[in-house]
Amino acid sequence: MELKTATDSQFQAKLDEQKDLQRKFLKRIVLIIVYVLLALWAVFTFVPLLWMLSSSFKDSSAITSVPPELFPKNPTLDAYKRIFKVGGLGRWFLNSTIIAAVSTVINVFFASLAGYAFSKLRFPGRNAIFWVLLASIMIPGQVTLIPLYILVVDTFQMENTYAGIIVPGMVSVGSIFLMRQFMTSLPSSLIDAGRIDACSEFGIFWKIILPISKPGLAVLGIFTFVAHWNNFFWPFLVTNTNSMRTLQVGLTSFRFENLQDYGAMMAGAVCSAVPMIIVFLALQKYFLQGITIGAVKG
């Protein structure tokens, strides 16, 4: 009898072991599938970038050659020379930098002010106003584009100026929403403590709330910078001279009636992407944080 139970338990152990192995095997299979899918996705997103980079070093015949060359046989910097000399890429770069930087600072400032008010201050109609603002996100940009154009160009006479590009984008509801969600998670007792510590209302915002909101501000800053750097349509609408063009707008000037200078466009795209890639690599931590901000409090 005893012997039998011993074999029973041995058998059970064997069975458990087998099950364990099966489980491990399954886990490994799933992992392999996940990695293969991720690798495919990485290739899928990386190839166009690589293509852009390699094309920018090709001469114009190599770009359109069949079969396509993934790596240029005779690498050349002609395209880069062209965009700097003919196009004025330096100027566009400067324009893009100024516009994206100024827009970012203004956006972050206003969004954090509004976010603070909506999350921490008590005033009549607070929620109503916030919901109206949120609802306005649902209005497509195309609907307001023409009125906005008339306002900026005809009424305020800001065509072809930095102000014309920056002013309409100084505040965005999305940014306000992000900052509100972030600031809701900050402890209100800090604000009370600030009041007792003789801080003015703006002082509380400036000396207490802003410094502890750095992670939120960084995320918003990156998002806004990237959005304004990549913005094409609005700067395209309100600028009409080469010297006022931003990088994204400028790149289109290498597309002519029947002819497209792919080399120059690719070189320009590389120049436009490099700052973003640097920003991303440097601030990757905040980028990833930004994806979950607002979703998880605290």
Binding site: S189, L190, D192, A193, R195, I196, D197, I208, P211, I212
Partner: protein, 367 residues
């Protein structure tokens, strides 16, 4: 230093679901100069709201608040000459401890040397000198608590406000900080208003205690008075741990009839209860006034009964015993030497010299 006066204070909140809610209903009282006054009550009773109204963080719906001789209804918190310690400490996470302590004074444009001197003084009182250059996140809960107190001390206010400052600490540290706060009060000779939901904290710290429930002040009294002469059923049940036992009873002459037992009321008490002769009352007796006859030199001739113990809890020096009278469960606290056992019958003496009777309708104590 100063006294704080509440005159007919009402605070109403607009609640989305319940409509208008009273957080504080017509509260009037005076906190004496240099007094340690404790607000105690269950959560949502209006004690923190009262404190925040003193601080100026909350505006009362009606009524007047005086700090010293000054009407402060419309005075900004910074000008009220108060300092507050928050439940979650509310230390500024991006500042060092030194900056945290000096922040208020800096905002008040105090000269740098004076700020530094005050920080030093507060740091030595609380023995936190070695923490001054750290950030709050590098400190333990107890240390943060001290810094929060330090931030109040440097302001040298007339009135200190404490909002449940010990509730985030573990039990051992809480006892230690309780002693320190008591000492601090003696040392600073300041008026202190302290809010807690913990009646032990209230009893040990407060010179006087304000018991609140549902926005109403139930009683303002010294700890001894609250314990011996509670105004009503709420106070009697809230103060004391385990709480006072309540049993439905009927008074007939000097006989108090409950569902299972008939108690004899002491002569000297009967005078107070004359009006309730023949009426329903609620009989209150504290757990420590129920004694095991095993430890008495001689068994008294009255108010001794056999009971079946449902549960016996061993607390070391004492036993908590649970038994029923009719539908009411009673708790007794007896010396552990009585060696009482669960589910065994035992003989208990009810010391009615310390009994209380309450009116079942008004819930007020009969006296």
């Amino acid at each position: 230093m100063a006294e704080v006066k509440f005159l007919n204070i009402v605070k109403q909140f607009e609640d989305e679901n319940k409509g208008k809610v009273f957080a504080v209903k017509d509260a009037s009282f005076t906190v004496k100069d240099k007094e340690f006054l404790v607000f105690v009550g269950p959560s949502g009773c209006g004690k923190t709201t009262s404190l925040r109204m003193v601080a100026g963080l909350e505006r009362q719906t009606s009524g007047d608040i005086y700090i010293g001789d000054r009407l402060v209804n419309k005075v900004h918190p910074k000008d009220r000459d108060i300092a507050m310690v928050f439940q979650d400490y509310a230390l500024y996470p991006h500042m060092t401890i030194r900056e945290n302590l000096g922040f208020g004074l800096k905002n008040l444009k105090t000269p740098k040397e004076e700020i530094e001197a005050k920080i030093k003084e507060a740091a030595s009182i609380l023995s936190i000198e070695n923490l001054l250059d750290r950030k709050p996140r590098e400190l333990s809960g107890g240390q943060r608590q001290r810094i929060a107190v330090g931030r109040a001390i440097v302001r040298n206010p007339s009135v200190f406000l404490f909002d449940e400052p010990l509730s985030n600490l573990d039990a051992k540290l809480r006892v230690q900080m309780r002693v320190e706060l008591s000492e601090l009060h003696k040392r600073l000779e300041a008026t202190i208003i302290y809010v807690t939901h913990d009646q032990v904290e209230a009893m040990t710290l407060g010179q006087r205690i304000v018991v609140m429930n549902a926005g109403e002040i139930q009683q303002i009294a010294t700890p001894e008075e609250l314990y011996e002469k509670p105004n009503n059923l709420f106070v009697a049940g809230f103060i004391g741990s385990p709480p006072m036992n309540f049993v439905k009873a009927r008074l007939n002459g000097n006989q108090l009839h409950t569902a299972s037992y008939t108690f004899t009321v002491p002569e000297e008490k009967l005078k107070m209860y004359k009006k309730y002769d023949g009426k329903e009352v609620i009989f209150g007796i504290r757990p420590e006034d129920i004694l095991s006859t095993k430890l008495m030199p001689s068994v008294p001739d009255k108010n001794v009964y056999h009971v079946n113990l449902k549960v016996v809890e061993h607390l070391g020096a004492e036993l908590l015993i649970y038994f029923d009278i009719g539908d009411d469960q009673l708790t007794g606290r007896v010396n552990a030497d009585a060696k009482l056992k669960q589910l065994e019958p035992t003989e208990l003496y009810f010391n009615l010299n310390k009994m209380q009777l309450f009116d079942p309708k008004t819930q007020e104590r009969i006296y």
